[in-house]
Amino acid sequence: MTVADLQYGQKGIIKDFTEHILPIKLLELGCLPGNSVELLQIAPLNDPIYINLSGSHLAIRRSLAALIELEIIEETQAK
């Protein structure tokens, strides 16, 4: 399960990562193990996605989102 797999209304917690493939920029914006990620919007053509990364509101492409592993913690019923 990665950020790219999130559905509307789903929220996850970033898993511990040891691989240092993520750009440092993303870490600075709060992409650290234990922080939450929530999907807010998907762009009209399905990419990029708009997330709330522990308080930071960011748009990233799916290819990058697929690198961030997480665990689902909250599942509100979404249409």
Partner: protein, 738 residues
């Protein structure tokens, strides 16, 4: 007098840093460039309590001291260089209250450089609405600093910043994180090799990717008994640094920063649902664009007409009031006409920057990036290229400078290369005057044909930019690995003050920057147009008199006389004048008009044989297939300095050739070609518009591209390709339409 206190404003993007800067400095600010690079340098003076003054430097927005772009590396470079004249006595970190955690990352890094650092928490007026409560006192103690709670919107807290700056000596400059924890072993080695140095500074020098301070870096590499780590290892340690800092920050915030999510309410979610909607998102974006074009075309026409008429009046007044002579001519025909050609731009430029800064201030621009990213990808671009491309509709220069936010070099280069195709405001006067001349009045679905033509020209420019981006994406072999990521700021009502500053500043820089070129060219043109070396020029009076003796007046002059008489007759009849009296006064009028027509023919003969006329004649065979005469040829040629010169050049050429101070447009409409037909017709008009749409006619843009790409190769390719392409398109248009 004591020295001013040097203050550096530092902060993440979208924290309202510029608002704080505006509040601190008021209009006492100066925008320039850092030497050698095009990063904008904003500085100003702020009066503090007790008669002290501070020199405030607004540094580019950055998320941390780990730099990935030129803008950001500038911040690090300044903070590491104690000898820089701008090196801050005190750093002011601006943070917004909602993203405090992330903002503190930068704060702790700066504090670890042992610079006294003040923390400004901006947008404090939002705290209630977001359910945020702060324990400022504890936070000050834990962060070992002084805090100012500020709302630039409500205008509170600014005095507190001023007091803190004035009292900067009492602010702690102790580091907050034990940076050796990043890697005890590595920092120990650093320490033994460079015992005199500050370790965290060295660490920053070592880890930055950007190529700054080569000497310092070299010193580290050259140290014989010290080996640095591989790039991968360093990157791992940078990750560790970030984690350590966040641990520290989380511990502090746990005690001092509370958010009651139940109390939080915001427009973000609901506005985002609409503004980034699959259908409405695009519709709204399109509607906003349409509104902008309507504003530029329709609304700005009133102040523009006003300016146009008044400059014509001013020129006439000078001619009638001052004693006749070379100086008066220079003033009326060269200088006043030239300045008029600059001032007439102001309404449109102001409107464009008004809209662009409104969109940016409100947070909408990021939504555009989000909406457009996927659409831009097939062209080798990303959503981030949309902002430069849209800004290019105002002016390519700031647009090309705006590409600096694009981390991916290939993407950035492509954006730089194609941006000049977008319809900058300098093309606008050319389009506007040609559209008014050759596109008929009338409307379609409530939009005038003229407005639709303008819109079409914008679309052509934009389309061409995208098309060439796609081609460049295939051709250019540049490997560049950078990620796409953009922050979506909270929606905010734009602050009129900030918008106002932007509009004034951009308009001013246009008038002073491009204006100088335009004025200089106008004066040179006036000189070249009113002097000549040939016998034909010297003996113009006798040659023309002889020709009129033999052949009579030219068709243009005959029409000129006849039209005026017809108008007079209609008028007189309407006023109920007797038929006999009309005949008599027409007789007198005819004589007067013929005299004037002769004077006009002499002037126009002189122009034809002046320096400029001869240059134009030599150039004519090249532009003839496009439907232009030698006068337009000159205007096109001089436009290679800057497009907007076109109208000014024609104004100068025509007013030199005529005694009347008509407005430019009427004068252009009266121009005839060899067959006595209007010179500006649909075919030649469209051909001209297409030429201006595609040609690279702007010295300033070429200079900027040279600076941004650091070579003459790219601007020269741009100049060559765009101009040849423009010629071909204009040629095809004229040949098909005529």
């Amino acid at each position: 007098m004591s020295k001013n206190i040097n203050v550096a404003l530092i902060g993440n993007p979208n924290t309202g840093k510029t608002s704080v800067f505006n509040q601190l400095t008021g209009l006492k600010q100066k925008v320039g460039n850092y030497p050698g690079i095009t990063v904008e340098k904003k500085e100003g003076i702020c009066k503090l309590p007790r008669g002290v003054k501070a020199h405030i430097l607004d540094l580019p927005g950055t998320y941390s001291l780990n730099t990935t772009s030129l803008d950001e590396s500038l911040v690090v470079e300044l903070l590491l260089n104690k000898n820089d004249k701008d090196y801050p006595d005190v750093a002011v970190v601006i943070s917004d209250v909602e993203n405090l955690k992330r903002n503190l990352l930068l704060f702790t890094q700066i504090k670890d450089l042992k610079i006294p650092t003040i923390l400004v928490i901006n947008m404090a007026d939002r705290m209630d609405r977001k359910g945020i409560s702060l324990d400022v006192e504890t936070m000050e103690r834990k962060l070992d600093t002084k805090i100012a709670l500020v709302s630039t919107r409500k205008n509170t807290g600014i005095d507190r910043i001023k007091e803190l700056i004035a009292d900067y000596k009492s602010i702690s400059s102790k580091p907050i994180l034990d940076t050796s924890r990043i890697s005890p072993e590595y920092f120990e080695r650093l320490k033994s090799t460079f015992p005199q140095e500050d370790l965290y500074k060295l660490w920053l020098v070592i880890t930055q990717d950007v190529n700054f301070m080569p000497i310092e870096k070299k010193r580290i590499q050259d140290a014989t008994d010290f080996s640095t780590k591989s790039k991968d290892e360093l990157k791992k340690l940078q990750h560790k640094e970030t984690v350590l800092r966040y641990q520290l920050i989380n511990n502090i915030l746990r005690e001092t920063y509370k958010v009651d999510f139940m109390a939080a309410k915001g427009l973000r979610a609901s506005l985002d649902k609409i503004l980034t909607h699959k259908v409405f998102g695009y519709l709204i974006f399109f509607a906003i664009l349409l509104l902008i074009f309507q504003a530029i075309f329709e609304w700005s026409s009133y102040p523009m007409d006003f300016i146009d008429e008044n400059f014509a009046l001013a020129a006439e007044w000078i001619k009638n009031t001052l004693p006749p002579g070379v100086f008066t001519d220079l003033l009326a025909e060269g200088i006043v006409a030239g300045i008029g050609g600059i001032v007439i731009f102001i309404p449109q430029i102001a409107f464009l920057f008004l809209f662009i800064s409104l969109l940016e201030e409100s947070g909408y621009m990021s939504r555009v990036v989000f909406l457009m990213d996927r659409l831009m990808r097939p062209f080798g671009l990303s959503g981030k290229s949309v902002v430069p491309l849209i800004s290019g509709n105002a002016c390519a220069i700031p647009a090309i400078m705006a590409t600096r936010t694009i981390e991916n070099w290939k993407e950035r280069l492509i954006t730089i290369l194609v941006t000049p195709f977008t319809t900058c405001s300098a093309r606008l006067p050319v389009y506007l005057i040609l559209i008014a001349l050759v596109i008929p009045e009338g409307s379609f679905l409530g939009l005038s044909f003229q407005a639709l033509t303008l819109m079409l020209l914008y679309l052509i420019g934009f389309g061409m930019a995208l098309l060439s981006a796609m081609v460049l994406n295939k051709i250019l072999k540049i490997k560049s690995r950078a990620i796409f990521m953009i922050e979506m700021p909270t929606y905010r009502l734009p602050l009129l003050k900030n918008v106002g500053y932007t509009v004034i500043e951009k308009t001013k820089s246009f008038v002073l920057g491009a204006g100088k070129i335009i004025l200089a060219i106008s004066i040179v043109l006036w000189f070249l147009g009113s002097n000549g070396y040939s016998d034909d020029f010297q003996n113009a009076e006798s040659i023309v008199a002889e020709r009129i003796e033999n052949e009579g007046l030219s068709t243009y002059s005959k029409n000129y006389v006849q039209n005026n008489i017809d108008a007079y007759r209609t008028n007189a009849k309407a006023e109920g004048m007797a038929a006999g009296a009309i005949q008599d006064s027409i007789q007198i009028l005819r004589e007067e008009l013929s005299e004037r027509a002769v004077a006009q023919e002499i002037a126009s003969y002189k122009l034809e044989h002046s320096y400029i006329g001869q240059a134009g004649k030599a150039f004519e065979p090249l532009v003839k297939p496009l439907g232009y005469d030698w006068k337009i040829g000159i205007a096109v040629l001089t436009s290679f300095a800057a497009r907007e010169v076109f109208v000014g050049t024609l104004a100068t050429i025509y007013s030199v050739g005529s005694d009347e101070e008509e407005t430019i447009q009427n004068r252009m409409a009266a121009e005839l070609d060899e067959d006595g037909e209007p010179l500006f017709n649909l075919a030649s008009g469209i051909s001209l518009m297409l030429f201006y749409a595609f040609a690279m006619q702007c010295m300033s843009t070429l200079a900027i591209v040279k600076r941004e790409t650091n070579s003459w190769k790219w601007p020269m390719i741009q100049l060559g390709f765009m101009s040849v392409f423009a010629y071909i398109m204009a040629l095809m248009a004229y040949q098909i339409l005529s």
